[in-house]
């Protein structure tokens, strides 16, 4: 049987626009191309603007990972101008990052990913009582596991199915044999899908207290704009502290009682996915989720309270015990497969040398196939020391495990025992999903047990300053200055780099988690992680017209395509020096 071409475009339930082109033969995928089909050029747009405004521009890189680009931006600007935000401001950012990360993981699992594993129409056939029993059996202590609730959800699903108008479930692969959950599990999952919508709406209000809104809360170079004063009605006072306490507790409860048990149960059923979807076994992270560095982690202190003793580092070549030191200078990006060109040719370019120009060589739309062309995506291919590396929850969990982070180790060991897989199998479709849930719990615990209590204790001690005014005015800045930030955000390792000259941005660049993962082939022909996880004749694809299996694997990376695409100084110009003192 000759290989057949399969196109998945639009690849739905992700952020942004991703197209996957496959060649499949005999029920497996032989070749894969990861193609990002949106470009906006935001880094070009911020050039020449006030660095204090940059956060608002780059925050709009992504509305799913909202806040993270804004925080990365202000930390990079602070690094450049020498501003020192007070401790409370840094704790507030940690809380914002922590809640955003948990919310992001929850939305990813329930609303973006679950429909790959959960057969919604099947829930209409479930017995609600059995669903309650199923929930108890998997150890879910979630208060939503009630007979009334499940009955009502079943009626809703049945109503939608009976109406013939399936709404967002239209065209789903509901008859696909790869759906394996029993109806009662499906009913419980649909119910939790709705509960999670309710949950994310509520718990994200931590962002709103500090940033005024979400998506896209407001931030401030030099600290935060939300003043704290326990004795003023218009500042953050006991009222807000009590509210946040409630939302933080709610967050911990949902992740502990609903999210993690659901993931363990679902991945237990789809255990074979611990052997599907492995990408290159190299992992990069600078700490636990939320870890924030202003400047080179090797020399600068973290600006976040979240470290858990986990240091920046790499795991290479499937060795999950040896942690290699992280050197940001070894990062380079290739445009071999991307619609850009370098003056220096097809080489890896480090973030300190920017000279990329857009060079679109693809067909004019409408088109049906892109991969015949050596360039097929807007996403560059970052490499570390010329190696393909993975970033994200699985990288952080493996790194924390290797460094002996107690809680991570405990949770991973429990999961391995419960489902029956080994540590290297975390590098898989199911492993990425599980790592995300484990990380959500450690993050929620750090939020509830460390960050928030420290914040409250500081208020009690009179430590309420949230803004460093000394470097606010551009006249207080050096004429020319560079800076960068590295932040561990929901999807992985994020860094923002900029040069300020004469009070305005000269160069701006973001190296984004999804870029690491969604990039295409490099000059050596190495595939990007998305491509590697699908190709090479290992990944199943039973029905070419219903590519459910590759969707599961791609979704397990939690793609964020708007983040992924960025350009290095398309206007050309002078270089950029990595600051590391």
């Amino acid at each position: 049987m000759a290989s057949e071409r399969v196109v998945i475009d639009p690849l739905t339930r992700i952020e942004g626009h991703l197209r996957i082109e496959l060649e499949a033969e005999g029920g497996v995928i032989s070749k894969a191309w990861s193609e990002t089909t949106q470009f906006r050029g935001i880094e070009t747009i911020v050039e020449g603007r006030d660095p204090r405004d940059a956060w608002a521009f780059v925050q709009r890189i992504c509305g799913v990972c909202t806040t993270v680009h804004a925080i990365a931006s202000i930390v990079a600007v602070e690094n450049a101008i020498g501003s020192n935000p007070p401790e409370q401001a840094r704790l507030i950012r940690d809380m914002v990052l922590g809640t955003q990360e948990v919310q992001d993981h929850v939305i990813h699992f329930y609303h973006l990913h679950a429909l790959d594993w959960v057969n919604v129409p099947s829930a209409a056939q479930a017995d609600p009582a059995k669903a309650v029993a199923f929930a108890q059996a998997i150890g879910s202590k979630w208060h939503g596991n009630q007979l009334d609730r499940f009955t009502s959800v079943k009626e809703t699903v049945a109503g939608v199915v009976a109406s013939g108008q399936l709404s967002i479930f239209t065209g789903g692969y509901w008859d696909h044999p790869a759906y394996k959950l029993p109806p009662e599990a499906n009913l419980m999952a649909v119910s939790h899908y709705l509960d999670a919508l309710e949950f994310q709406r509520s718990m994200i209000r931590v962002n709103t207290v500090f940033g005024g809104k979400n998506p896209h809360p407001n931030f401030l170079v030099g600290g935060m704009a939300c003043s704290i004063d326990p004795n003023a009605s218009e500042s953050i006072n006991q009222v807000q502290v009590d509210q946040i306490k409630g939302w933080v507790d709610e967050t911990l409860a949902f992740v502990r009682d609903c999210y993690l048990p659901d993931v363990l149960a679902v991945m237990g059923v789809y255990k074979e996915y611990f052997d599907i979807g492995a990408a290159q076994p190299n992992f990069l992270a600078v700490g636990l989720a939320g870890a924030t560095y202003a400047g080179d982690p090797a020399t600068s202190r973290t600006t976040s309270a979240i470290t858990g003793g986990v240091k920046p580092g790499l795991l290479l070549d499937g060795d999950y015990a040896t942690v290699y030191p992280f050197d940001p200078k070894k990062i380079s990006e290739y445009v071999t497969s991307a619609w850009y060109e370098y003056g220096a040719g097809d080489v890896g370019v480090t973030p300190d040398r920017g000279e990329t120009k857009v060079k679109y060589t693809g067909p004019q739309p409408p088109y049906t196939w892109l991969a015949d062309n050596p360039k097929y995506t807007w996403c560059k291919a970052p490499r570390y020391d010329d190696k393909v590396v993975q970033v994200g929850p699985v990288a952080r969990v493996l790194l924390a495990y290797a460094q002996g982070h107690a809680r991570t180790k405990e949770l991973v060991d429990q999961a391995m025992a419960a489902i029956g897989f080994t540590l290297p199998q975390l590098n898989s479709t199911a492993g990425r999903i599980l790592a995300r849930a484990i990380e959500a719990l450690t993050s929620a615990e750090i939020l509830a047990n460390e960050t928030f209590p420290t914040f409250v204790k500081n208020i009690k001690g009179g430590n309420i300053d949230v803004f460093d005014a000394t470097k606010w005015e551009p006249s207080s800045w050096a004429p020319s200055q560079s800076g960068f930030s590295i932040v561990e955000v929901a999807r992985g390792n994020l860094s923002h780099w900029l040069t300020i000259e004469g009070g305005k941005i000269k160069h701006y660049q973001a190296v984004v988690p999804t870029t690491w993962l969604a990039g295409g082939r490099d000059a050596k022909g190495q595939q990007g992680p998305y491509e590697e996880s699908l190709a090479n004749g290992k990944h199943p694809l039973v029905r070419n017209d219903a590519p459910l299996e590759p969707l599961r694997t791609i979704h397990s990376f939690d793609p964020c395509m708007s983040c992924a695409v960025h350009v290095l100084d398309p206007a050309g110009g002078e270089g950029f020096t990595v600051v590391s003192e």
């Binding site: 639009p10 952020e15 006030d50 939305i107 609303h111 939608v160 709705l194 003043s227 219903a546």
Partner: protein, 407 residues
Amino acid sequence: MPFESRGWQDETLGENLERAGVSRRDFLTFCTGLAAIFAAGSPLAQAVPAFAAQPSPTPAQIADALAAVKKPSVVWLQLQECTGCMESTLRSGGTTVEEVVLSLLSVNYNELVMAAAGEAAEKALHDTNAEPHILVVNGSVPLADGGIYCTIGGKSAEQVLRESAKNATAILAVGACAVYGSVQAARPNPTGAVGVDEIIRDKPVINVAGCPPIGEVITATIAYLLTHDGALPKLDAEGRPLFAYGQRIHDSCPRRPHFDAGQYVRTFDDKGAREGWCLYDVGCKGPSTFSPCPIVQWNLKTSWPIGAGHPCIGCTEKDFFDRYTPFYNVLPQVPGLGIEATAEKVGWGLVGAVTAGVALHAGITAVRHAADRRNAEAQPLAAFGDSEPAQRPASDQNQSATEKGAE
């Protein structure tokens, strides 16, 4: 707010409306509104086979056709954007996203939440495009270079939008990108991004502005269509519904008394900031921004940007990334004069330059006058006693007589 299952219990839209207390008469009014849209947008009439016989179907025909259908179908596109608007929709606490997708509407196509992908998703889109539907658009349309900067299913964003707009009965541009292009349309707009109403000119476009808009405003705009017989809400000059964008933030801001009192935050986290004073002097764009933020607030009425101490950045206004920056200055910079060209500096500079010019001019004038004065006395004249008279008077006697009088 617990989710309530209020799915359609009866078979068709007609039955459901009747159950909800909507009479056939009201429904006909709704359809009259639709007929007007059809008449304005004749492509729709040609595209829908049921209406193909006549260029403009009568309200009764539309009513019959629609009553046979069930929930209104929705195509919810995401073009060149960041998904923040969908995230905001997910956060709506008014009409929740659950109600929107499961009870009120049949959202047959939305990339973020739909189950199907690839061909199956495209089929759902194609099928829904073929029938009358509500079109919601997130994201801008990049027009530069043949539309290569955003393609979906191999088609350019413009093509996707045009196909979906053809049979749309109502078009909502949700979010700053769909309204005018937002951040990617900021200078220099490398991808040529434009808003929906730059492409769709034969039908009214409701602009639900904001980056992102408040979730409740997004869902309320959709609910408005459903509860007002399909009639569009009253719109302002920029196509924004007046029910949400009728007032400036400044005019409904709880900090307004501090503005009127002259009490301003001078630097962040100062005494005034902790007292909740007005943020005008640190660049708040509330006086220039039409938005219901102080009224509806964000995330279940938890807070809102000014409530959390940060100045408004004006995200519901067109081109706010260019026109409302620098965010922390009261006024934009004077164009073409560099980064430090604040209005005050330039203004005082102009006044200073003119004053200096006047001083210089007055100085030159004075110097020239001094020269004239000296010049006037440069010539000795006997009549002034500058020199001795050339001729001595003849009579000493007379001289003495005249001189005596002068004593």
